[in-house]
Assembly symmetry: C2
Homo-oligomer: 218 residues x 2
């Protein structure tokens, strides 16, 4: 496509006002999809919720698929990039991991477990229907898993976990427990399964602490 071809604009080419409008459309679509699903959300629903015209939506997105991919990118960026990555990067030990667990459970309690994981739910709905969307969700999950793994690697490197601990495998299992816990909590409308799953995983990490060395002052 030459630079003079008319058509949907990429985010990087937009003015500041254009970026704000585009983001308002994506955020409105993300909210609607969380409660109605992708299949149950029309571009007309998004137009009404974002307070824009149809031509404005088509100015930014070629079709619904393009908007849905922008929603996946938005969920990855806001949830993984702006929330979990910085929180996990700041964790200094097992207490930090427990605070991360508390943050996740609190968010679900406040929203009555509605919607499940905003990124995981998109993956579940689109995995068999849209190859590109599936790969985009997989990339978001890989980023999330890498952030958990980096947190655990840091704990191991600081001597808070035994050398035999496998941060990569533990991170995969913790992300799976988190995803499954969110899904079960959504189905049950109760944080119970999410809290139990994360508590078991954190107990497991705590059990991988090296034996306490005898206090030389005692």
């Amino acid at each position: 496509m030459s630079s003079t071809t008319p058509g949907p604009r990429r985010a990087g080419e937009l003015t500041r006002k254009g970026q704000q409008t585009r983001r308002r459309i994506v955020a409105a679509a993300a909210d609607l999809i969380l409660t109605q699903g992708v299949a149950g959300t029309t571009l007309d629903d998004v137009r009404a919720a974002a307070g824009v015209s149809s031509s404005q939506i088509y100015h930014y997105f070629a079709d619904k698929e393009a908007l849905v991919r922008a929603v996946i990118d938005y969920r990855t960026q806001t949830m993984v990039g702006e929330t979990h990555e910085p929180v996990l990067a700041a964790i200094e030990g097992i207490d930090g991991l427990r605070a991360w667990r508390d943050m996740i459970v609190s968010v679900q309690r406040e929203t009555d477990c509605a919607g499940g994981c905003p990124l995981g739910s998109l993956g579940s709905e689109l995995a068999e229907l849209d190859h590109v969307a599936r790969c985009d969700v997989a990339a978001g999950m890989a980023r999330w898993e890498a952030a958990i793994s980096a947190c655990l690697t840091g704990m191991r490197d600081r001597g808070q976990l035994i050398a035999a601990a496998d941060p990569g495998q533990l991170a995969t299992a913790i992300l799976a427990a988190l995803q499954g816990g969110l899904a079960l909590a959504q189905i049950e409308r109760n944080v119970r399964p999410l809290a139990a799953a994360l508590d078991v995983m954190i107990s497991l990490v705590a059990s991988l602490a090296p034996p306490a060395r005898p206090d030389p002052n005692s």
Copy 2:
């Protein structure tokens, strides 16, 4: 509704041939929904796949919602009732749990991780849209969790797990890891996250074995 009111028949009132037709419709709907989702599956798709007429479908199901609920019941019955419950009930120790893990991973490998968990995917798609369907999926998950819990309780009662082990909490965490592992495997089209999540959970159960007693013959 009086017994003379015409309308969809309940499964218990059907002749043997009627039960077979009903089951063929439900199985066809279950297969279609696994790959196309509930929203992407029409009664006409089901009619064509099951090789029945529209009037036959409406003879058994008042509407699509009723058919979807029958699919949830079918998934719970075939997957939990006829597969996981008997396998879990026959487990005698940690090796049986490892064989259960291998069975789950093999099934996903054979199907290239398509569809994720047939019951969990229904829960994810319907949780915000159909209250009755959500409760039905929750009941299926509760049955699954109870089967895992009973297996671990048996291991504890036989002295294969320490008395402090909590079969209920462990079962919740294992089901969450299984659900999340299936969802991540579907998104990644690779059994890696499922295998890692179950391996970590089974290592955890293995770590709860009581310390070996010294051999009196040595």
